[in-house]
Amino acid sequence: MKQSDQSVSGKTHQTDWKAVRDEFPALHQQVNGYPLAYFDHAATAQKPRKVIDAMTRYYEFDNANVHRGVHSLSQRATLAYEEARQKTARFICAKDPSEIIFTSGTTASVNVVALSWGRAHLKPGDEVLVTGLEHHANLVPWQMACAMTGAQLKIVPVNEFGEVSTDSVAEMLHSKTRIFAFSWISNALGTINPAHDWVQLAREKGITTLIDAAQVAAHHPIDVQHLGVDFLCFSAHKMMGPTGLGVLYGKKSILETLDPVFGGGDMIDEVTYEKSTWADLPYRLEAGTPNIAGVIGLSAAIDFLESIGWQNISRRESELLQYALEKLSEIPQIRFIGSPKERAGVISFVVDGVHPYDLGILLDEQGIALRTGHHCAQPLMRHFGITGTCRVSLAIYNTFEEIDQLDRAIKRALRLLGISQSN
Protein backbone atom coordinates (compact mmCIF):
# COMPACT_ATOMS: atom_id res chain seq x y z
CA MET A 1 0.00 0.00 0.00
CA LYS A 2 3.00 2.28 0.04
CA GLN A 3 2.33 5.27 -2.16
CA SER A 4 4.86 7.84 -3.10
CA ASP A 5 4.11 11.51 -3.45
CA GLN A 6 5.10 11.23 -7.05
CA SER A 7 2.50 8.62 -7.80
CA VAL A 8 -0.12 10.63 -6.01
CA SER A 9 0.73 13.98 -7.44
CA GLY A 10 -1.16 12.94 -10.53
CA LYS A 11 -4.35 13.08 -8.50
CA THR A 12 -3.84 16.56 -7.17
CA HIS A 13 -3.29 18.21 -10.50
CA GLN A 14 -1.75 21.63 -10.72
CA THR A 15 -0.34 21.98 -7.24
CA ASP A 16 3.26 20.94 -6.81
CA TRP A 17 3.10 19.79 -3.24
CA LYS A 18 6.81 19.29 -2.98
CA ALA A 19 7.26 22.94 -3.88
CA VAL A 20 4.64 23.91 -1.31
CA ARG A 21 6.44 21.89 1.33
CA ASP A 22 9.72 23.55 0.39
CA GLU A 23 8.28 26.87 1.46
CA PHE A 24 8.25 25.75 5.09
CA PRO A 25 11.76 26.04 6.50
CA ALA A 26 11.01 24.21 9.75
CA LEU A 27 10.06 21.01 7.95
CA HIS A 28 13.51 20.49 6.54
CA GLN A 29 15.37 19.28 9.57
CA GLN A 30 16.42 16.08 11.25
CA VAL A 31 15.10 15.20 14.68
CA ASN A 32 17.00 12.53 16.59
CA GLY A 33 18.62 11.45 13.37
CA TYR A 34 15.38 11.07 11.42
CA PRO A 35 13.74 13.50 9.06
CA LEU A 36 11.19 15.48 11.01
CA ALA A 37 7.61 14.37 10.32
CA TYR A 38 5.44 17.11 11.79
CA PHE A 39 1.96 15.87 12.64
CA ASP A 40 1.11 18.50 15.23
CA HIS A 41 -0.58 20.92 12.94
CA ALA A 42 -3.70 21.21 15.08
CA ALA A 43 -1.60 22.54 17.96
CA THR A 44 0.19 25.03 15.78
CA ALA A 45 0.95 25.18 12.09
CA GLN A 46 4.37 25.60 10.55
CA LYS A 47 5.00 28.90 8.80
CA PRO A 48 5.81 29.42 5.15
CA ARG A 49 8.79 31.54 4.23
CA LYS A 50 6.48 34.32 3.02
CA VAL A 51 4.89 34.76 6.41
CA ILE A 52 8.23 34.88 8.19
CA ASP A 53 9.61 37.29 5.58
CA ALA A 54 6.62 39.62 5.79
CA MET A 55 7.22 40.11 9.50
CA THR A 56 10.96 40.48 9.07
CA ARG A 57 10.39 43.04 6.38
CA TYR A 58 8.01 44.93 8.60
CA TYR A 59 10.58 45.13 11.38
CA GLU A 60 13.33 46.04 8.93
CA PHE A 61 11.50 48.82 7.13
CA ASP A 62 8.12 49.88 8.40
CA ASN A 63 8.19 49.32 12.13
CA ALA A 64 6.27 52.05 13.93
CA ASN A 65 3.30 52.38 16.17
CA VAL A 66 0.02 52.61 14.31
CA HIS A 67 -2.90 55.02 14.12
CA ARG A 68 -1.77 58.17 15.79
CA GLY A 69 1.41 58.93 13.88
CA VAL A 70 1.73 61.33 10.98
CA HIS A 71 5.23 60.28 10.02
CA SER A 72 5.87 57.99 7.08
CA LEU A 73 6.77 54.84 9.01
CA SER A 74 3.66 55.14 11.12
CA GLN A 75 1.61 55.75 7.98
CA ARG A 76 3.08 52.69 6.32
CA ALA A 77 2.55 50.55 9.40
CA THR A 78 -1.01 51.81 9.76
CA LEU A 79 -1.73 51.20 6.11
CA ALA A 80 -0.39 47.65 6.30
CA TYR A 81 -2.29 47.05 9.52
CA GLU A 82 -5.61 48.31 8.16
CA GLU A 83 -5.15 46.59 4.81
CA ALA A 84 -4.68 43.36 6.73
CA ARG A 85 -7.95 44.04 8.49
CA GLN A 86 -9.67 44.53 5.14
CA LYS A 87 -8.09 41.36 3.83
CA THR A 88 -9.20 39.42 6.90
CA ALA A 89 -12.70 40.78 6.48
CA ARG A 90 -12.75 39.62 2.89
CA PHE A 91 -11.21 36.27 3.91
CA ILE A 92 -14.26 35.41 6.02
CA CYS A 93 -16.75 37.46 3.97
CA ALA A 94 -17.41 40.03 6.68
CA LYS A 95 -19.43 42.98 5.45
CA ASP A 96 -17.17 45.60 6.95
CA PRO A 97 -13.56 45.72 8.13
CA SER A 98 -14.75 47.16 11.42
CA GLU A 99 -16.28 43.78 12.18
CA ILE A 100 -12.76 42.38 12.52
CA ILE A 101 -11.23 42.79 15.97
CA PHE A 102 -7.62 41.73 16.39
CA THR A 103 -7.01 39.93 19.67
CA SER A 104 -4.17 37.85 21.05
CA GLY A 105 -5.77 34.52 20.02
CA THR A 106 -8.92 32.44 19.83
CA THR A 107 -8.86 32.15 23.60
CA ALA A 108 -8.86 35.91 24.03
CA SER A 109 -11.59 36.28 21.40
CA VAL A 110 -13.93 33.88 23.16
CA ASN A 111 -13.18 35.45 26.52
CA VAL A 112 -13.96 38.94 25.25
CA VAL A 113 -17.38 37.75 24.14
CA ALA A 114 -17.98 35.76 27.32
CA LEU A 115 -17.01 38.74 29.47
CA SER A 116 -18.55 41.59 27.55
CA TRP A 117 -21.56 40.07 25.83
CA GLY A 118 -21.99 37.65 28.74
CA ARG A 119 -22.09 40.30 31.40
CA ALA A 120 -24.62 42.31 29.44
CA HIS A 121 -26.95 39.49 28.44
CA LEU A 122 -26.78 36.63 30.94
CA LYS A 123 -28.78 36.41 34.12
CA PRO A 124 -29.90 33.68 36.50
CA GLY A 125 -32.19 31.24 34.72
CA ASP A 126 -30.53 31.76 31.35
CA GLU A 127 -28.65 28.99 29.65
CA VAL A 128 -25.40 28.95 27.71
CA LEU A 129 -25.09 26.01 25.36
CA VAL A 130 -21.83 24.44 24.23
CA THR A 131 -21.09 20.95 22.95
CA GLY A 132 -19.23 18.12 24.62
CA LEU A 133 -16.48 18.47 22.01
CA GLU A 134 -15.22 21.87 23.10
CA HIS A 135 -11.64 22.89 23.56
CA HIS A 136 -11.17 24.44 27.02
CA ALA A 137 -10.96 27.79 25.25
CA ASN A 138 -14.65 27.56 24.42
CA LEU A 139 -15.70 25.97 27.69
CA VAL A 140 -13.87 27.59 30.59
CA PRO A 141 -14.77 31.19 29.61
CA TRP A 142 -18.44 30.18 29.62
CA GLN A 143 -18.09 28.48 32.99
CA MET A 144 -16.60 31.71 34.28
CA ALA A 145 -19.34 33.82 32.67
CA CYS A 146 -21.99 31.57 34.18
CA ALA A 147 -20.36 31.72 37.60
CA MET A 148 -20.38 35.50 37.34
CA THR A 149 -23.93 35.94 36.11
CA GLY A 150 -25.82 32.99 37.55
CA ALA A 151 -26.59 31.53 34.13
CA GLN A 152 -26.35 27.80 33.61
CA LEU A 153 -23.99 25.99 31.28
CA LYS A 154 -25.51 23.16 29.25
CA ILE A 155 -23.59 20.63 27.22
CA VAL A 156 -24.87 18.93 24.07
CA PRO A 157 -23.75 15.32 24.52
CA VAL A 158 -21.24 13.56 22.28
CA ASN A 159 -22.04 10.12 20.90
CA GLU A 160 -19.76 7.09 20.72
CA PHE A 161 -18.41 8.17 17.32
CA GLY A 162 -17.33 11.52 18.68
CA GLU A 163 -20.19 13.34 17.02
CA VAL A 164 -22.83 15.71 18.26
CA SER A 165 -26.15 15.08 16.60
CA THR A 166 -28.12 17.92 15.15
CA ASP A 167 -31.22 16.46 16.80
CA SER A 168 -29.66 16.89 20.23
CA VAL A 169 -28.67 20.42 19.35
CA ALA A 170 -32.21 21.22 18.23
CA GLU A 171 -33.60 19.76 21.43
CA MET A 172 -31.28 21.71 23.70
CA LEU A 173 -31.77 25.05 21.97
CA HIS A 174 -34.82 26.35 23.74
CA SER A 175 -36.38 29.43 25.19
CA LYS A 176 -33.87 29.75 28.02
CA THR A 177 -30.84 29.48 25.77
CA ARG A 178 -29.13 32.82 25.25
CA ILE A 179 -26.06 31.80 23.29
CA PHE A 180 -24.90 28.68 21.51
CA ALA A 181 -21.09 28.55 21.31
CA PHE A 182 -19.58 25.62 19.48
CA SER A 183 -16.45 24.53 17.69
CA TRP A 184 -16.85 23.98 14.00
CA ILE A 185 -14.05 21.40 13.94
CA SER A 186 -12.99 19.50 17.05
CA ASN A 187 -9.27 19.76 17.64
CA ALA A 188 -9.27 16.51 19.60
CA LEU A 189 -11.14 14.21 17.20
CA GLY A 190 -11.37 16.09 13.93
CA THR A 191 -15.16 16.01 13.92
CA ILE A 192 -16.61 18.57 11.50
CA ASN A 193 -19.86 19.95 12.79
CA PRO A 194 -22.60 21.21 10.46
CA ALA A 195 -21.99 24.79 11.49
CA HIS A 196 -24.39 26.35 9.02
CA ASP A 197 -27.31 24.17 10.09
CA TRP A 198 -26.65 24.72 13.75
CA VAL A 199 -26.51 28.48 13.38
CA GLN A 200 -29.80 28.38 11.45
CA LEU A 201 -31.44 26.35 14.21
CA ALA A 202 -30.31 28.85 16.79
CA ARG A 203 -31.29 31.87 14.73
CA GLU A 204 -34.79 30.55 14.24
CA LYS A 205 -35.13 30.75 17.99
CA GLY A 206 -33.44 34.13 18.26
CA ILE A 207 -30.39 32.68 19.99
CA THR A 208 -27.00 34.32 19.63
CA THR A 209 -24.26 32.14 18.13
CA LEU A 210 -20.49 31.91 18.41
CA ILE A 211 -18.30 29.65 16.32
CA ASP A 212 -14.87 28.58 17.50
CA ALA A 213 -13.20 28.29 14.11
CA ALA A 214 -9.66 27.79 15.40
CA GLN A 215 -9.33 24.50 13.54
CA VAL A 216 -11.13 25.71 10.44
CA ALA A 217 -9.23 28.71 9.18
CA ALA A 218 -6.39 26.78 7.55
CA HIS A 219 -8.63 24.12 6.03
CA HIS A 220 -11.95 25.44 4.80
CA PRO A 221 -13.21 28.71 3.47
CA ILE A 222 -15.24 30.64 6.02
CA ASP A 223 -18.23 32.68 4.96
CA VAL A 224 -19.84 34.46 7.88
CA GLN A 225 -22.63 35.75 5.64
CA HIS A 226 -23.62 32.28 4.60
CA LEU A 227 -23.23 31.00 8.15
CA GLY A 228 -25.23 33.87 9.56
CA VAL A 229 -23.22 33.60 12.77
CA ASP A 230 -22.94 36.43 15.29
CA PHE A 231 -19.39 35.81 16.52
CA LEU A 232 -16.56 33.78 15.05
CA CYS A 233 -13.08 33.29 16.51
CA PHE A 234 -9.78 31.99 15.22
CA SER A 235 -6.01 32.17 15.77
CA ALA A 236 -3.35 33.19 13.27
CA HIS A 237 -0.84 30.61 14.49
CA LYS A 238 -3.07 27.69 13.49
CA MET A 239 -3.38 28.96 9.93
CA MET A 240 0.34 29.31 9.22
CA GLY A 241 0.46 32.81 10.66
CA PRO A 242 2.34 34.04 13.72
CA THR A 243 1.79 33.45 17.42
CA GLY A 244 0.14 36.05 19.62
CA LEU A 245 -2.64 37.03 17.25
CA GLY A 246 -6.28 36.11 16.95
CA VAL A 247 -9.40 37.39 15.31
CA LEU A 248 -12.79 38.11 16.75
CA TYR A 249 -15.42 38.59 14.10
CA GLY A 250 -18.71 40.04 15.25
CA LYS A 251 -21.74 41.31 13.39
CA LYS A 252 -21.51 45.06 13.50
CA SER A 253 -24.93 45.50 15.06
CA ILE A 254 -23.96 43.28 17.96
CA LEU A 255 -20.35 44.43 18.35
CA GLU A 256 -21.69 47.94 18.69
CA THR A 257 -23.49 46.94 21.85
CA LEU A 258 -20.38 45.49 23.51
CA ASP A 259 -18.62 47.32 26.28
CA PRO A 260 -14.86 47.09 26.05
CA VAL A 261 -13.22 44.56 28.34
CA PHE A 262 -9.83 46.27 28.38
CA GLY A 263 -9.31 50.02 28.58
CA GLY A 264 -6.31 52.01 27.41
CA GLY A 265 -4.79 53.68 24.41
CA ASP A 266 -6.40 53.57 20.98
CA MET A 267 -9.81 52.42 22.24
CA ILE A 268 -10.93 55.77 23.56
CA ASP A 269 -12.55 58.76 22.01
CA GLU A 270 -12.21 61.23 24.81
CA VAL A 271 -10.65 60.78 28.23
CA THR A 272 -10.90 63.07 31.18
CA TYR A 273 -9.66 62.26 34.64
CA GLU A 274 -13.26 61.47 35.54
CA LYS A 275 -14.49 59.41 32.64
CA SER A 276 -13.90 58.19 29.14
CA THR A 277 -15.90 57.68 26.00
CA TRP A 278 -15.11 54.92 23.58
CA ALA A 279 -13.86 55.10 20.03
CA ASP A 280 -15.76 53.60 17.13
CA LEU A 281 -15.41 49.99 16.11
CA PRO A 282 -13.09 48.21 15.67
CA TYR A 283 -10.79 50.35 17.84
CA ARG A 284 -13.06 50.30 20.85
CA LEU A 285 -12.24 46.64 21.36
CA GLU A 286 -8.51 46.94 20.62
CA ALA A 287 -6.90 48.57 23.64
CA GLY A 288 -3.19 49.32 23.56
CA THR A 289 -0.54 48.84 20.96
CA PRO A 290 -1.69 45.89 18.86
CA ASN A 291 0.42 43.01 17.59
CA ILE A 292 1.29 44.90 14.43
CA ALA A 293 3.88 42.47 13.10
CA GLY A 294 1.47 39.64 13.89
CA VAL A 295 -1.28 41.25 11.86
CA ILE A 296 1.11 41.64 8.95
CA GLY A 297 2.05 37.99 9.29
CA LEU A 298 -1.61 36.99 9.26
CA SER A 299 -2.09 38.97 6.09
CA ALA A 300 0.74 37.02 4.44
CA ALA A 301 -0.74 33.74 5.71
CA ILE A 302 -4.06 34.56 4.09
CA ASP A 303 -2.29 35.30 0.82
CA PHE A 304 -0.43 32.02 1.08
CA LEU A 305 -3.53 29.92 1.71
CA GLU A 306 -5.45 31.65 -1.03
CA SER A 307 -2.61 31.22 -3.48
CA ILE A 308 -2.93 27.46 -3.03
CA GLY A 309 -6.70 27.48 -3.16
CA TRP A 310 -9.31 25.83 -0.98
CA GLN A 311 -10.12 23.09 -3.46
CA ASN A 312 -6.53 22.00 -3.63
CA ILE A 313 -6.18 22.23 0.11
CA SER A 314 -9.16 20.06 0.83
CA ARG A 315 -8.35 17.51 -1.81
CA ARG A 316 -4.82 17.17 -0.50
CA GLU A 317 -5.91 16.97 3.11
CA SER A 318 -8.51 14.35 2.46
CA GLU A 319 -6.07 12.23 0.47
CA LEU A 320 -3.58 12.40 3.31
CA LEU A 321 -6.30 11.64 5.82
CA GLN A 322 -7.56 8.61 3.92
CA TYR A 323 -4.07 7.26 3.55
CA ALA A 324 -3.25 7.79 7.23
CA LEU A 325 -6.51 6.18 8.34
CA GLU A 326 -5.79 3.19 6.11
CA LYS A 327 -2.26 2.74 7.39
CA LEU A 328 -3.15 3.17 11.03
CA SER A 329 -6.14 0.83 10.85
CA GLU A 330 -3.75 -1.89 9.74
CA ILE A 331 -2.02 -1.72 13.13
CA PRO A 332 -4.22 -3.99 15.25
CA GLN A 333 -3.21 -2.54 18.64
CA ILE A 334 -4.52 0.88 17.66
CA ARG A 335 -7.96 1.87 18.85
CA PHE A 336 -9.32 5.03 17.26
CA ILE A 337 -11.03 7.52 19.52
CA GLY A 338 -13.84 9.02 17.54
CA SER A 339 -14.85 7.99 14.05
CA PRO A 340 -16.92 10.92 12.84
CA LYS A 341 -18.37 10.67 9.37
CA GLU A 342 -17.28 14.23 8.64
CA ARG A 343 -13.68 14.42 9.70
CA ALA A 344 -10.92 16.98 9.21
CA GLY A 345 -7.28 15.89 9.08
CA VAL A 346 -7.15 14.79 12.69
CA ILE A 347 -6.84 11.22 14.00
CA SER A 348 -6.89 10.44 17.70
CA PHE A 349 -6.00 6.98 18.93
CA VAL A 350 -4.89 5.00 21.94
CA VAL A 351 -3.12 1.70 22.39
CA ASP A 352 -4.59 -0.09 25.33
CA GLY A 353 -1.98 -0.75 27.99
CA VAL A 354 0.27 2.02 26.75
CA HIS A 355 0.30 5.54 28.07
CA PRO A 356 0.20 8.08 25.22
CA TYR A 357 3.18 9.79 26.80
CA ASP A 358 5.35 6.69 26.34
CA LEU A 359 4.31 6.34 22.76
CA GLY A 360 4.88 10.04 22.12
CA ILE A 361 8.42 9.85 23.49
CA LEU A 362 9.31 6.79 21.45
CA LEU A 363 7.89 8.34 18.31
CA ASP A 364 9.83 11.52 18.91
CA GLU A 365 12.96 9.40 19.00
CA GLN A 366 12.07 8.51 15.41
CA GLY A 367 11.47 12.06 14.22
CA ILE A 368 7.69 11.99 14.59
CA ALA A 369 6.08 15.06 16.13
CA LEU A 370 2.57 14.29 17.27
CA ARG A 371 0.60 15.41 20.25
CA THR A 372 -0.23 13.26 23.24
CA GLY A 373 -2.49 14.12 26.12
CA HIS A 374 -5.90 15.60 26.65
CA HIS A 375 -5.68 18.20 23.85
CA CYS A 376 -7.29 20.77 26.13
CA ALA A 377 -10.46 18.72 26.07
CA GLN A 378 -10.44 16.92 29.41
CA PRO A 379 -14.20 16.45 29.64
CA LEU A 380 -14.25 14.82 26.21
CA MET A 381 -11.44 12.48 27.22
CA ARG A 382 -13.40 11.56 30.32
CA HIS A 383 -16.42 10.87 28.11
CA PHE A 384 -14.34 8.22 26.34
CA GLY A 385 -13.00 6.89 29.63
CA ILE A 386 -9.41 7.85 28.89
CA THR A 387 -6.98 10.51 30.08
CA GLY A 388 -5.54 11.25 26.69
CA THR A 389 -4.80 10.11 23.16
CA CYS A 390 -2.09 10.27 20.57
CA ARG A 391 -3.19 12.72 17.95
CA VAL A 392 -2.00 12.88 14.36
CA SER A 393 -3.00 16.11 12.70
CA LEU A 394 -2.31 16.69 9.04
CA ALA A 395 -1.72 19.64 6.80
CA ILE A 396 -1.06 20.22 3.14
CA TYR A 397 2.67 20.19 3.79
CA ASN A 398 2.65 16.59 5.00
CA THR A 399 3.60 13.78 2.65
CA PHE A 400 2.59 10.19 2.12
CA GLU A 401 6.17 9.19 2.92
CA GLU A 402 5.81 10.83 6.31
CA ILE A 403 2.75 8.72 6.96
CA ASP A 404 4.77 5.65 6.07
CA GLN A 405 7.45 6.84 8.47
CA LEU A 406 4.78 7.22 11.15
CA ASP A 407 3.51 3.73 10.47
CA ARG A 408 6.96 2.21 10.81
CA ALA A 409 7.71 4.27 13.91
CA ILE A 410 4.55 3.22 15.70
CA LYS A 411 5.23 -0.44 14.99
CA ARG A 412 8.76 -0.11 16.27
CA ALA A 413 7.63 1.70 19.41
CA LEU A 414 5.02 -0.94 20.14
CA ARG A 415 7.62 -3.70 19.77
CA LEU A 416 9.86 -1.84 22.19
CA LEU A 417 6.98 -1.44 24.63
CA GLY A 418 6.38 -5.18 24.42
CA ILE A 419 2.89 -4.69 23.03
CA SER A 420 2.98 -7.37 20.38
CA GLN A 421 0.30 -7.81 17.76
CA SER A 422 -1.07 -10.90 19.43
CA ASN A 423 -1.90 -8.94 22.60
Binding site: R68, G69, V70, S72, S74, Q75, L79, E82, D280
Partner: protein
Amino acid sequence: MMNIPSNMKSIQDQLAADFEYLDDWEERYAYLMDLGKEVQGLSPEEKTSDNLIRGCQSRVWLITRYENNRLWMSADSEAFIARGIIALLMKVFNGQTPSDILNENFDLPERIGLTAHLSPGRANGLAGMLSRIRHDASLALGTQNRN
Protein backbone atom coordinates in the same frame (compact mmCIF):
# COMPACT_ATOMS: atom_id res chain seq x y z
CA MET B 1 -20.68 79.42 -3.78
CA MET B 2 -23.85 78.20 -5.41
CA ASN B 3 -22.43 78.34 -8.90
CA ILE B 4 -22.60 75.01 -10.56
CA PRO B 5 -19.05 73.75 -10.96
CA SER B 6 -17.54 72.07 -13.97
CA ASN B 7 -17.17 68.35 -14.03
CA MET B 8 -15.04 66.67 -11.45
CA LYS B 9 -12.65 65.00 -13.79
CA SER B 10 -11.63 68.28 -15.35
CA ILE B 11 -11.33 69.95 -11.94
CA GLN B 12 -9.02 67.20 -10.79
CA ASP B 13 -7.00 67.50 -13.99
CA GLN B 14 -6.70 71.24 -13.54
CA LEU B 15 -5.59 70.92 -9.91
CA ALA B 16 -3.10 68.21 -10.80
CA ALA B 17 -1.71 70.47 -13.48
CA ASP B 18 -1.45 73.37 -11.05
CA PHE B 19 0.53 71.20 -8.66
CA GLU B 20 2.75 69.90 -11.41
CA TYR B 21 4.19 73.35 -11.89
CA LEU B 22 5.49 73.34 -8.35
CA ASP B 23 9.06 72.30 -7.94
CA ASP B 24 9.30 70.66 -4.59
CA TRP B 25 7.38 69.65 -1.51
CA GLU B 26 7.80 73.06 0.05
CA GLU B 27 6.06 74.77 -2.80
CA ARG B 28 3.36 72.12 -2.89
CA TYR B 29 2.57 72.55 0.78
CA ALA B 30 2.77 76.30 0.55
CA TYR B 31 0.24 76.17 -2.28
CA LEU B 32 -1.95 73.73 -0.43
CA MET B 33 -1.99 75.92 2.65
CA ASP B 34 -2.73 78.95 0.51
CA LEU B 35 -5.74 77.14 -0.90
CA GLY B 36 -6.75 76.40 2.67
CA LYS B 37 -6.81 80.08 3.51
CA GLU B 38 -9.64 80.56 1.03
CA VAL B 39 -11.85 78.11 2.90
CA GLN B 40 -14.59 80.05 4.56
CA GLY B 41 -14.72 77.94 7.69
CA LEU B 42 -17.50 77.42 10.15
CA SER B 43 -18.95 79.36 13.00
CA PRO B 44 -18.26 78.09 16.52
CA GLU B 45 -21.87 76.84 16.76
CA GLU B 46 -21.41 74.71 13.68
CA LYS B 47 -18.39 72.96 15.18
CA THR B 48 -20.48 70.32 16.89
CA SER B 49 -19.39 66.81 17.63
CA ASP B 50 -21.90 65.58 15.04
CA ASN B 51 -20.09 67.54 12.40
CA LEU B 52 -16.69 66.41 13.65
CA ILE B 53 -14.97 63.91 11.40
CA ARG B 54 -13.65 61.15 13.56
CA GLY B 55 -10.19 59.98 12.82
CA CYS B 56 -8.44 63.25 12.21
CA GLN B 57 -5.60 64.21 14.45
CA SER B 58 -6.38 67.83 13.77
CA ARG B 59 -10.06 68.34 14.30
CA VAL B 60 -12.06 68.69 11.10
CA TRP B 61 -15.72 69.63 10.92
CA LEU B 62 -17.75 69.11 7.77
CA ILE B 63 -21.33 70.01 6.94
CA THR B 64 -23.15 69.11 3.76
CA ARG B 65 -26.42 70.46 2.50
CA TYR B 66 -28.51 68.89 -0.27
CA GLU B 67 -30.16 71.53 -2.43
CA ASN B 68 -31.23 71.69 -6.06
CA ASN B 69 -30.18 68.09 -6.52
CA ARG B 70 -26.65 68.99 -5.58
CA LEU B 71 -24.51 68.52 -2.51
CA TRP B 72 -23.09 71.71 -1.02
CA MET B 73 -20.49 71.63 1.68
CA SER B 74 -18.66 73.75 4.18
CA ALA B 75 -15.90 72.71 6.51
CA ASP B 76 -13.21 73.86 8.88
CA SER B 77 -10.13 72.63 10.66
CA GLU B 78 -7.59 73.70 13.24
CA ALA B 79 -4.64 72.83 11.06
CA PHE B 80 -3.42 74.58 7.95
CA ILE B 81 -2.71 71.44 5.99
CA ALA B 82 -6.07 69.93 6.85
CA ARG B 83 -7.71 73.13 5.62
CA GLY B 84 -5.76 72.79 2.41
CA ILE B 85 -7.10 69.29 1.98
CA ILE B 86 -10.58 70.60 2.68
CA ALA B 87 -10.05 73.15 -0.04
CA LEU B 88 -9.13 70.46 -2.55
CA LEU B 89 -12.16 68.39 -1.62
CA MET B 90 -14.47 71.37 -1.88
CA LYS B 91 -13.09 72.34 -5.26
CA VAL B 92 -13.79 68.88 -6.58
CA PHE B 93 -17.00 67.89 -4.83
CA ASN B 94 -18.84 71.06 -3.83
CA GLY B 95 -22.01 71.55 -5.81
CA GLN B 96 -21.84 68.23 -7.63
CA THR B 97 -24.73 65.83 -7.87
CA PRO B 98 -24.74 62.91 -5.46
CA SER B 99 -24.52 60.33 -8.20
CA ASP B 100 -21.58 62.09 -9.83
CA ILE B 101 -19.85 62.26 -6.48
CA LEU B 102 -20.35 58.56 -5.91
CA ASN B 103 -19.11 57.70 -9.39
CA GLU B 104 -16.03 59.90 -9.32
CA ASN B 105 -12.65 58.25 -9.03
CA PHE B 106 -10.92 60.67 -6.70
CA ASP B 107 -7.28 60.11 -7.57
CA LEU B 108 -6.06 63.63 -7.04
CA PRO B 109 -4.10 62.87 -3.85
CA GLU B 110 -1.94 60.31 -5.63
CA ARG B 111 -1.45 62.61 -8.56
CA ILE B 112 -0.21 65.48 -6.43
CA GLY B 113 1.84 63.36 -4.04
CA LEU B 114 -0.46 63.52 -1.07
CA THR B 115 -1.19 59.80 -0.85
CA ALA B 116 0.04 59.66 2.71
CA HIS B 117 -3.00 61.65 3.69
CA LEU B 118 -5.28 58.97 2.38
CA SER B 119 -4.17 56.22 4.76
CA PRO B 120 -7.01 54.51 6.55
CA GLY B 121 -5.37 55.15 9.90
CA ARG B 122 -6.80 57.70 12.17
CA ALA B 123 -4.08 60.29 12.04
CA ASN B 124 -5.30 61.82 8.85
CA GLY B 125 -8.51 63.40 7.92
CA LEU B 126 -8.73 62.98 4.20
CA ALA B 127 -10.06 59.44 4.32
CA GLY B 128 -12.59 60.46 6.94
CA MET B 129 -13.71 63.54 5.04
CA LEU B 130 -14.03 61.62 1.83
CA SER B 131 -16.13 58.93 3.38
CA ARG B 132 -18.34 61.51 5.07
CA ILE B 133 -18.92 63.21 1.70
CA ARG B 134 -19.70 59.90 0.03
CA HIS B 135 -21.93 58.87 2.89
CA ASP B 136 -23.89 62.11 2.67
CA ALA B 137 -24.07 61.72 -1.10
CA SER B 138 -25.67 58.30 -0.78
CA LEU B 139 -28.13 59.64 1.78
CA ALA B 140 -28.99 62.42 -0.62
CA LEU B 141 -29.37 59.95 -3.44
CA GLY B 142 -31.85 58.05 -1.30
CA THR B 143 -33.88 61.22 -0.77
CA GLN B 144 -33.75 61.98 -4.46
CA ASN B 145 -34.93 58.53 -5.44
CA ARG B 146 -37.82 58.69 -3.04
CA ASN B 147 -38.91 62.05 -4.49
